[in-house]
Symmetry: C2
Subunit: 151 residues, 2 copies
DNA sequence: TGATATATAGGAAATTGTTCCGCATCTGGG
DNA sequence: CCCAGATGCGGAACAATTTCCTATATATCA
């Protein structure tokens, strides 16, 4: 799908605050509500705009530990990989998972209540799928956290 | 702020889809509009619920490269750290930044259009603040990406 | 240029968000 | 055990927003 300058402005506004009214967005992008509404609808249909969600205060809700997990594995067969990906997708503690180029095979971002909960997660994961080497990096401070793309 | 079982159900619904109507949320949590509205308002005031945003398709918008950047530094003075944090917060390519415990001092998640854009970001960053050692991990595949907490 | 397609602004109808009010439930003090 | 005050609930009224329609303007291409 082709995204023009007006679409981009709308996306910037939506990223900033998805709860504002169409009139406000229209004013911000210098248009009126109908074209804005049509453009948003098209971008939703095309999948450019995905879920609409809220960002919660993790610490206020008791999620006080964030780990980045670096995984190396010697297994690279399809069957193993499918089980591994399935395990990651099913575990809600895993907020992000990427397959990497190079030395390290995967990186995960894991949000848990505390170190003990991380250990429980870790034990459960390695009992499900064999991995060669795991390094956990513990976050001491979340300096920045946004989901906005730099449009 | 104290969060009870109903609040938690509301948060789960909001994380799943922040665009649904109050009536739908009320039905999902087994309550009616008014209490749901009051609870949401209180949680917003308390900061438990932060921004409301949309998740965009990064690839469709031309952001085809994601890097995780591991940073070691020998500098740990307040002045240096302030400049470093400021630089990270000002750069929109940096979607996440954490200060870590242990060997590696910081981890960043950086979203850019391509490898060249990453290099430009990298050069700009190290010219602003001196860092000892930088490792960039390139994502080949985003296996999972959610901002939902495992409530 | 003229015909066609596409995007726009404004407004009406339907839906949703917000507020108010009476009622039920819970809590702590006598 | 009972009462007064506080708190939370559901329903209804009102305000605002979304959604859709129509007429007009703008761009496109032969």
């Amino acid at each position: 799908m082709k995204i023009d300058a007006t679409d981009r402005k709308i996306l910037i506004e939506l990223q900033r605050d998805a709860a504002q009214s169409l009139d406000d967005i229209a004013k911000a992008v210098g248009s009126s509500k109908t074209p804005v509404w049509n453009r948003i609808r098209k971008m939703k249909e095309a999948g450019v705009i995905g879920a609409q969600t809220v960002l919660l205060d993790a610490e206020a809700l008791g999620f006080e530990a964030t780990f980045f997990v670096l995984i190396r594995t010697s297994e690279h067969e399809a069957e193993w990989q499918n089980r591994f990906l399935k395990a990651l997708r099913e575990r809600p503690e895993v907020q992000e998972a990427h397959r990497l180029a190079g030395d390290i095979d995967y990186i995960l971002k894991v949000r848990v209540r505390n170190a003990r909960a991380y250990d429980a997660f870790y034990q459960a994961l390695i009992s499900e799928v064999k991995v060669h080497n795991v390094t956990a990096l513990l976050s001491m401070e979340e300096i920045k956290a946004t989901v906005a793309l730099p449009l």
